[in-house]
Amino acid sequence: MNLPAEHDDAQEQLREVERTARPRLTAGMLAAGVAVLLFSFVLSVSLGAANIDFLTVWEAMWRMGAGSQEHQIIWGIRLPRVIGAAMVGAAFAVAGAVMQGMTRNPLADSGLLGINAGSAFALSLCFALLPELPYIYLVMFSFAGAALGAAMVYGIGSLSRGGLAPIRLVLAGAAVSALLGALSEGIALYFNTGQDLAFWYSGGVSGTRWSHLAVIGPWLLAALAAVIAMSRSVTILSLGEETAVGLGENVARVKLAGMIIVVVLAGLAVAVVGAVSFVGLIVPHVARRIVGYDYRLIIPTSAVFGAVFVTLADLAARILNPPYEIPIGAVIALVGIPFFLYVAGKGERGI
């Protein structure tokens, strides 16, 4: 049994977090986020190689199959792409939020910690060895790869005495990414799949089809539902493991469940967009700033903000330098790196 005093202390901490949370502000933010998301959908669908005016887009979004060329562009090419970007953004952002909460590491992000590189490695293996693989199995391999990357980085963490500090974990992630990246590169050059792989590897949602979304959609919804169901446990874990134990939380089980969810989210996102970093770093930090430290609020906010962020990043990637598309990973990195340096310089306060 824990000493009653400690138990009270832990209870007090949890109450403090829940008291300072801002549910009403969160509701407002979620509503605003969804509105902005819809607006960016319309904007993103109407802008591009062939500009389509807003009204046609709005009409087409609610009414399918009018047969005109514009409707075909909208439904065949742009809508799946835009929705794919939003799904990827939500997945990366929530994965980052869960990782940051569970490990109390302000620099946690599936890209920075080598999980995305694991996924990308598994996918490059598939492209080289099993080029005809249906998308549904590709996603499975992507999950397996993400698990491999996570296992490597956290394995190193648990091997070292006293665990790894956040900054060292990032370095371990960089090394694991370098290793898996080199292997993927070697495979791509050996099997001559380099050109196909390159754009995809550096990030792009341009090839997204409805059939892809149909495969990853259920996974995303299931993972989001699971993560919202366990979000109170994430909050408790974010108070520190001792406090969590004091509150009667089964830390090992929560961590395992959280890791599985992170692997699923990162794996499905990489299968769509490629190994894009920083979404999972930036979005949860912003969300925490606004809604407080309660993960029941942080997680939905992160999902919506992440969707908006990646949708807009994809739009920027398409229209900044026409007719070329800038890889979305590069666009996000240019925002993400200054943010990363800022967070790293601040040290670990307030998770």
């Binding site: 070292s160 080199a182 070697g186 380099g194 800038i326 990195a333």
Partner: protein, 346 residues
């Protein structure tokens, strides 16, 4: 007292003898590696024929293969490995952090970016004057180093080692993102060249490249060797070094400049090869201790040998598709980096 070296203690003398034996062993290993690598490849040439050809009595075809293809490539691999190892050793000495490596902290990426930009200027692959490449790379690497230095500097505690590495990793990511943007706008034929180059390849493989690299190494490597005592002092920490009267700031900047120059020149002919500058100095320190008079030469030889072997493995094992040496080095180097990371404490 020992007669020949009266100024040395027994321990120092033993260290010195150990060092000399190590240098000798590395020379022999290098020679062996060269001989083995020379007779393997797409066209096998027996050791006896290799020897005959080296003495000027081989067939024309053998001479062509050995002197124009294999030998320059091997010399280049050895020199690049040497350069990266020395640059890594110096950076680690300055940063007092065994994780510093030009490939990890973005200096190599800066060099790569400059070379890539030159391809835009000269509009097609590999027509940029070869002798200009190290200079362009130096400009790029220098800019990256300045940026890292400026971002990692705090008035409070100067350059904290781990912050330097972390900033470097971030800059590295950023420059890579820029490189990706640029490569994707390249024409397909240039793209293939760039992809292989960025992965780290001894792609030049001709005497011209050796000559482009050599002057840089010939000037800068002896310079850092001459500064070895300063590195020893810097390595023990700021307070002690100031106490010993070393003008810290200036010496550190000089050595940093030299390391950046060596790394940039090496990268300009080899592409982004990481981890050599990490593994070689670290192995060396375990073998000969911390005195840079010993560390620098041994690290240079180990680095050269390492890249020579990696390039030969890449060349021989992956016929006919060529896997860049950088991939082979990363496969060895990344686990080593992880091992270091797990073992070290702050």
């Amino acid at each position: 007292m020992n007669g020949k070296h009266p100024w040395m203690t027994e321990g120092q003398l033993r260290k010195k003898q150990q060092f000399q034996r190590l240098i000798l062993a590395l020379f022999i290993l290098t020679l062996l590696a060269v001989l083995i690598a020379l007779n393997t490849g797409y066209i096998r040439i027996s050791p006896w024929d290799v020897l005959k050809t080296l003495l000027g009595r081989g067939t024309d075809q053998q001479e062509l293969i050995l002197f124009e293809f294999r030998l320059p490539r091997m010399v280049l691999a050895f020199l690049v490995g040497m350069g990266l190892a020395v640059a890594g050793a110096v950076l680690q000495g300055i940063a007092r952090n065994p994780l510093a490596d030009p490939g990890i902290i973005g200096i190599s990426a800066g060099a790569s970016l400059a070379v890539l930009l030159s391809i835009f200027f000269f509009s097609s692959a590999a027509v940029a004057p070869v002798y200009l490449m190290p200079m362009l790379a130096f400009a790029g690497a220098g800019a990256a180093a300045l940026l890292i230095y400026a971002l990692a500097y705090r008035r409070r505690d100067g350059i904290a080692p781990i912050r330097l590495i972390l900033t470097g990793v971030a800059i590295d990511l950023g420059i890579r993102a820029l490189i990706i943007v640029l490569t994707l706008t390249l024409a397909p034929e240039n793209y293939q060249f760039m992809a292989v180059w960025l992965a780290g390849n001894i792609w030049g493989g001709s005497w011209t490249f050796v000559l482009a690299l050599l002057p840089w190494l010939a000037v800068l490597v002896p310079f850092v060797y001459w500064k070895a005592p300063v590195l020893n002092v810097l390595n023990v920490g700021e307070e002690t070094a100031t106490g010993l009267g070393v003008r810290l700031g200036r010496e550190r900047r000089l050595l940093l400049g030299a390391a950046v120059g060596i790394a940039a020149a090496s990268v300009s002919v080899s592409g982004g090869i990481g981890f050599v500058g990490l593994i070689a100095p670290h192995l060396t320190r375990r073998l000969v201790g911390d005195r840079h008079e010993h560390v620098l030469p041994v690290a240079a030889l180990i680095g050269g040998l390492l890249l020579l072997i990696a390039d030969s493995v890449a060349r021989v094992l992956t016929q006919p598709a060529k896997i860049p040496a950088g991939v082979v080095v990363a496969v060895i180097g990344a686990p080593y980096f992880l091992y270091l990371l797990a073992k070290l404490r702050d």
